[in-house]
């Protein structure tokens, strides 16, 4: 049960900081938080190595919810997938913790920040360690909460306040589908434990069932998986719900690194991978997954090409990388997907943290057009960033290459040629815009001397994580990914991520190497081109923009997604609700309700005047009454 410690450590930190932080601990909060996260890091590493030797846990801590005799436990599952996620999460998290000491030290919400970080770590760990869908969902929502809190950390900025709301709501849209998916799972498998849902017989049994929703018959398994995948779309910022991620950059940079690059956003990938037994049987959904992934990758890359905001570029690159992963899971290359997740976690965190340290140097200025030549001022940051760039561009032997190449290979092998093609193009673009950053920010001449003069290298708490991450982004790829197609990662994740009944695709070696070479070439080409654009001839970009004006406009404005959503969804709903309230609720329903009172009052007012106060009238009324009654009695 030692794994429970992984959860308890951050929880403890959270509670202590949460209660005493404001009044007593104040700016010593990081000790507690870091202690917490380091403990869980330690335990997770331990677990990781145990798991290497085939150690598994699937245990119930306590019975949580009981619905219709279906026990939904609070249970822990440790298997390779969990283990690898644990390592990623705890490691990146601890890096970010340490980094934040330096980055946040002058913020008055210091303790608050670390509390939130602990919340995040905790909920992310719950997400990955849970042994059933409900716990997955709990973690899912809680990371949503913590991202909400952290994005809105500087809530006095309207942009931040908007961004965090947007993030939460957009995620909720995805969760709606996720919710339905879970409901389908529980009604189908009479349980939410992975063990119930993922046993092959059961799945095959219901494979061809159909399910009637909204009066339409869907194929049960496809509906189920699609529902779940909606969750992934939201959480992993896939098209069409990717809009929240770039805005999420309003949060402090460490947060962007931790949540919106390394861990949280990859939860979707984790989930799909986790549900591979289901997805592998749901062919329609898988296709959808592939192409959504591809589309996202393209989208992210294209926008990334044109942005000038340091963090936004990184954000869009994240989007496109996530697209890769999703695409991979869609093609059935779950291992590749997770592997890319794994590597991406390191180098993307690295990149973000670098950007953070750059911001730190440039007085929180993010426009890359005012930077330049920072290499001399802040060497560590610069070179670690370079490593990151190479890694993400996919130059062997750095991490990115291995995972990305596997994904493309799989896409090719499962003849999703279109997806493969897009992937390759995106790879090219990625190399291009990442190096664009590198050239513009760190090399060449400083554009804004005032800023440049005040720029300086960050303190050790910030650089140390950079270095560590850089090292890892160099190594992990080789360690786990070599040789291609059956690196250690395959041995490690194989047991969990090769769904039964999914026949492995293998292609002859020549094509494999061919593809490999191709992708390397593409990457190099990208780098070369960006060198050409941003170092050699500075006027080229302008030219290109002029030539492709409309295209550039489209990319630059992020394909107008925000505008479209605002016009098509947000505004109509708000206005209609206004109508519902003012027009319908107040003026129709309530009107009817009050009408009763008004009507009776009205009649009272009328009848009142029968009472003239004249005797004759009264007597006359009586007489008439008698007459009428008598008449009635003659009739009846």
């Amino acid at each position: 049960m030692i794994e429970l410690g992984i959860l308890l450590a951050p929880l403890a930190a959270l509670i202590i900081n949460g209660i005493f932080g404001r009044l007593y601990i104040k700016n010593k909060a990081h000790y507690i938080a870091i202690a917490g996260v380091l403990v869980s890091l330690g335990i997770s590493l331990l677990t990781f190595f145990k798991v290497m030797n085939g150690y598994r846990v699937d245990t119930v801590v306590y019975e949580w919810v009981l619905a219709d005799n279906i026990v939904i436990p609070f249970g822990i599952l440790i298997d390779p997938l969990t283990a690898i996620m644990l390592v990623v999460v705890t490691f990146v998290s601890s890096m970010v913790h340490i980094y934040s000491i330096g980055y946040m030290h002058h913020d008055k919400g210091y303790w608050r920040f670390f509390t939130y970080l602990s919340i995040f770590t905790l909920s992310m760990l719950v997400l990955v360690m849970g042994n059933n869908f409900l716990m997955l969902f709990v973690g899912w929502e809680l990371v949503g909460l913590s991202s909400y809190l952290l994005i809105g950390f500087w809530f006095h900025k309207k942009s931040a306040a908007d961004a965090n709301k947007k993030a939460f709501v957009v995620n909720r849209v995805g969760d709606f589908g996720f919710y339905i998916g879970i409901l389908l799972v529980i009604v189908t498998f009479k349980g939410l434990n992975y063990s119930d849902a993922f046993n092959h017989e059961a799945i095959v049994a219901i494979k061809n069932n159909s399910f009637n929703l909204f009066g339409i018959d869907f194929s049960l398994i496809d509906l189920m998986t699609f529902g779940l995948f909606c969750g992934a779309i939201g959480k992993s910022a896939q098209f069409p719900l990717h809009v929240w991620l770039p805005d999420a950059m309003e949060g402090p940079t460490p947060v962007s690194a931790l949540i919106h690059a390394a861990t949280m956003v990859t939860a979707g990938v984790y989930m799909v991978a986790r549900c591979n037994p289901l997805f592998s049987q749901a062919h329609i959904t898988s296709e959808i997954v592939v192409y959504i992934g591809a589309a996202t990758a393209l989208l992210g890359a294209t926008i990334g090409l044109t942005q000038f905001d340091f963090k936004r570029v990184l954000a869009y690159s994240t989007v496109s990388q996530l697209g890769y992963m999703i695409m991979a899971t869609g093609t059935g290359a779950y291992i590749a997907g997770i592997f890319h997740l794994f590597t991406h976690a390191f180098f993307k965190a690295l990149l973000f943290l670098c950007s953070g340290s750059v911001m730190h140097a440039m007085q929180d200025n993010l426009d890359i057009r005012v930077m330049g030549g920072l290499r001399k001022k802040m060497p560590i940051t610069a070179y670690t960033f370079l490593i990151g760039c190479i890694a993400i561009a996919g130059i062997p032997p750095l991490a990115g290459f291995w995972s990305k190449d596997e994904i493309l290979a799989m896409a090719f092998a499962t003849d999703h040629k279109l997806a493969w093609f897009i992937g390759t193009v995106v790879a090219f673009m990625t190399a291009f815009y990442m190096f664009r950053l590198w050239w513009m920010v760190f090399t060449g001449e400083p554009r804004d001397h005032h800023l440049y003069d005040h720029a300086h290298e960050s303190p050790w708490q910030m650089t140390m994580p950079l270095v560590l991450l850089a090292i890892l982004s160099v190594l992990v790829g080789m360690l786990f990914g070599y040789p291609l197609e059956d690196g250690y990662i395959h041995k490690f994740l194989g047991p969990v991520l090769t769904p039964e009944g999914a026949h492995p695709h293998h292609m002859e070696h020549s094509t494999a190497t061919l593809l490999m070479l191709l992708s390397i070439i593409v990457a190099v080409a990208g780098i070369a081109l960006s060198y050409l654009y941003y170092v050699k001839s500075k006027e080229l970009p302008e030219k290109t923009i002029k030539t492709f004006r409309p295209l550039h406009k489209l990319f630059y404005n992020k394909w107008y997604f925000d505008e479209i959503y605002d016009a098509l969804i947000v505004q109509p709903i708000v206005t209609n609700s206004r109508f519902l309230w003012k027009g319908f609720d107040a003026n129709f329903i309530d009107f009817i309700v009050n009408a009763f009172g008004k009507v009776s009052n009205f009649f009272g007012g009328i009848l009142k005047y029968l009472q003239t106060g004249r005797i004759q009238t009264y007597i006359f009324t009586m007489v008439v009454g008698v007459i009428i009654l008598v008449a009635i009695f003659y009739v009846g």
């Binding site: 404001r22 306590y62 019975e63 949580w64 919810v65 009981l66 619905a67 219709d68 005799n69 279906i70 609070f74 409900l134 969902f137 709990v138 899912w140 929502e141 809680l142 909460l145 909400y148 809105g152 809530f155 006095h156 900025k157 309207k158 931040a160 306040a161 908007d162 965090n164 709301k165 939460f168 709501v169 909720r172 849209v173 969760d175 709606f176 919710y179 339905i180 409901l183 389908l184 529980i186 009604v187 399910f211 009637n212 929703l213 909204f214 009066g215 709903i573 708000v574 209609n576 609700s577 206004r578 519902l580 309230w581 609720d585 107040a586 329903i589 309530d590 309700v593 009050n594 009172g597």
Partner: protein, 498 residues
């Protein structure tokens, strides 16, 4: 111990009389009322602990002759469904009284007296096992509530009070006719004239269908207004907005539950066939309530009104769950009742205590106060998230169970209902953003944070919210048996109908 329920019902009355006679100063009334309500709450604890979760039957039963000529008995008892409601009532009453220490500035004495009387009546409603007794409590509750809204309320308080009173009354008078009709029907069928709820429920299935339908409609009208279900909800915003904090807390926390409780206790067992026939109607109405309430809440300018509409939406979940006719649905419904009581009650308390400081409830008048009142905003955030049904908090479990149950019975409605997940997030967070985030509104610069008393009375609610979220079994375990019995009863009928 054997007549703990009577004590629970009459202790507040006694306390009220005591205050009415002996209290000279408002302070005295205030404190004695608070102490009384706390004692009341403490009295419920043995009730909870000595409750035998193993049986579906009524417990702590008391029965004395009351009106011989009609065979009306003074007949009390609680089962797994009502005991939670009793607990909720006593808890919220105590907290509401503590919560209105500074809010109520005029005629404290009368206020606390009516609070206590109200509490007694509410406990009575949940304990009564005799139709007549039930109806007495049900109606008796109106008078103190009417006074609370009318005397201590806001600007349009008179309108709100009268509307509340007449609307609910209009609903319940038909219920009375239905009750009388049942009395005679049962009598003519068995030869034994009685208002005994249990006996009549036991006969439920045998009543002829059209009779059931009539009775059901009468009940439905009464309860739907109380819940309130979609077309009958318009009294709620007015009442909530105008009522003083304590009033809103009780209103949202307990009164609304009476409607759903009525559905559970009467409509299902007594008119099962009609209930089954009317499932589509109620499911649709509930779904409409969920979505509609949410959408309307979204565009409110008044925080209290927003929360009021949100309770329309949440109560929609309850009715949806109840009419799913399966264990998880109904249990979820009850749990949702409980949680909604806690959460919305807490939200109203929070709104109330900020209103004391700023004397405005308009969202536009706030903004950025998170910087000024960190504790307050944290607590508020927690309850906001709870009401958005964030997992690990109370709201979620109830909602989840409801949806599971509903999804089994009518997936489409359930699917639409789960859109509420999005909507609720939208309106709550939007409100939270506009109130707490962004730049500080200049005229709120000296806004002091929650004081000890306020923290103190929020604390139990906080604990319960997480408790129900993390270990709901504590509460659900009470209801399992009773609900199971109920479900079996219904299923038997529905099978017989096929």
């Amino acid at each position: 111990m054997e007549n703990i329920l009577s004590i629970l019902i009459f202790f507040p009355v006694v306390a009220a009389v005591f205050i009415l006679i002996f209290s000279k100063s408002g302070k005295f009334a205030m404190w004695s009322a608070f102490i009384a309500s706390v004692i009341e709450f403490i009295l419920t604890i043995p009730l909870m602990t000595n409750f035998d979760k193993g049986t579906a039957g009524m417990q702590f039963v008391e029965r004395y002759y009351w009106i011989r000529s009609f065979n009306i008995d003074y007949y009390l008892g609680v089962d797994g469904i009502s005991i939670l409601m009793v607990f909720l009532t006593t808890l919220l009453s105590a907290i509401a009284i503590l919560g209105s220490f500074t809010y109520i500035q005029k005629r404290e004495k009368e206020f606390y007296v009516s609070m206590l009387v109200l509490e007694a009546a509410m406990v009575g409603v949940f304990c009564a096992l005799d139709f007549f007794l039930f109806y007495i409590f049900w109606e008796a509750m109106l008078i103190p509530m009417y006074l609370i809204i009318g005397v201590w309320g806001g600007q349009r308080r008179i309108y709100a009070a009268v509307k509340f009173f007449l609307y609910t009354l209009a609903g319940s008078v038909f219920m009375m006719l239905a009750i009388i009709a049942l009395y005679f029907k049962y009598g003519s069928m068995t030869g034994e004239y009685t208002f005994d709820i249990l006996k009549i429920s036991a006969m439920g299935a045998q009543f002829p269908v059209e009779f059931q339908i009539i009775v059901f409609l009468a009940f439905f009208f009464g309860f739907a207004i109380k819940v309130p279900m979609f077309p009958f909800h318009t009294w709620l915003p007015d009442a909530h907005v105008e009522a003083p904090t304590a009033g809103s807390v009780i209103l949202a926390g307990v009164l609304l539950k009476m409607g759903t409780y009525g559905f559970l206790r009467f409509c299902l067992p007594i008119t099962p066939i009609a209930s089954i026939k009317f499932v589509p109607l109620i499911a649709i109405l509930s779904v409409i309530a969920i979505i509609y309430g949410g959408l309307v809440a979204m565009v409110q300018e008044d925080v209290k009104k927003l929360v009021a509409y949100s309770s329309v939406s949440h109560m929609g979940f309850v009715t949806l769950g109840i009419y799913a006719f399966n264990q998880s649905g109904i249990e979820g419904g009850i749990l949702q009742m409980f949680n909604h009581g806690i959460i919305t009650g807490a939200l109203f308390l929070l709104i109330g205590l900020i209103y004391e400081r700023t004397h405005t409830r308009l969202i536009a008048d706030y903004g950025g106060i998170a910087a000024k009142v960190p504790v307050y905003s944290t607590v508020f955030l927690i309850f906001t998230m709870a009401s958005v049904a964030l997992p690990s908090m109370g709201g979620f479990i109830g909602e989840f169970l409801v949806l599971v149950g509903a999804f089994k019975s009518f997936p489409t409605y359930a699917a639409v209902a789960s859109l509420g997940v999005i909507v609720s997030a939208v309106y709550m967070l939007w409100m939270y953003q506009r109130v707490f985030f962004q730049t500080v509104n200049p005229n709120l610069h000296h806004l002091e944070d929650m004081n000890v008393r306020e923290v103190f009375y929020m604390f139990p609610l906080l604990i319960i919210v997480f408790w129900t979220g993390l270990y709901p079994e504590t509460f659900t375990s009470y209801m399992h048996e009773s609900v199971k019995q109920l479900v079996e009863q219904i299923n038997a009928v529905s099978i017989a109908m096929k």
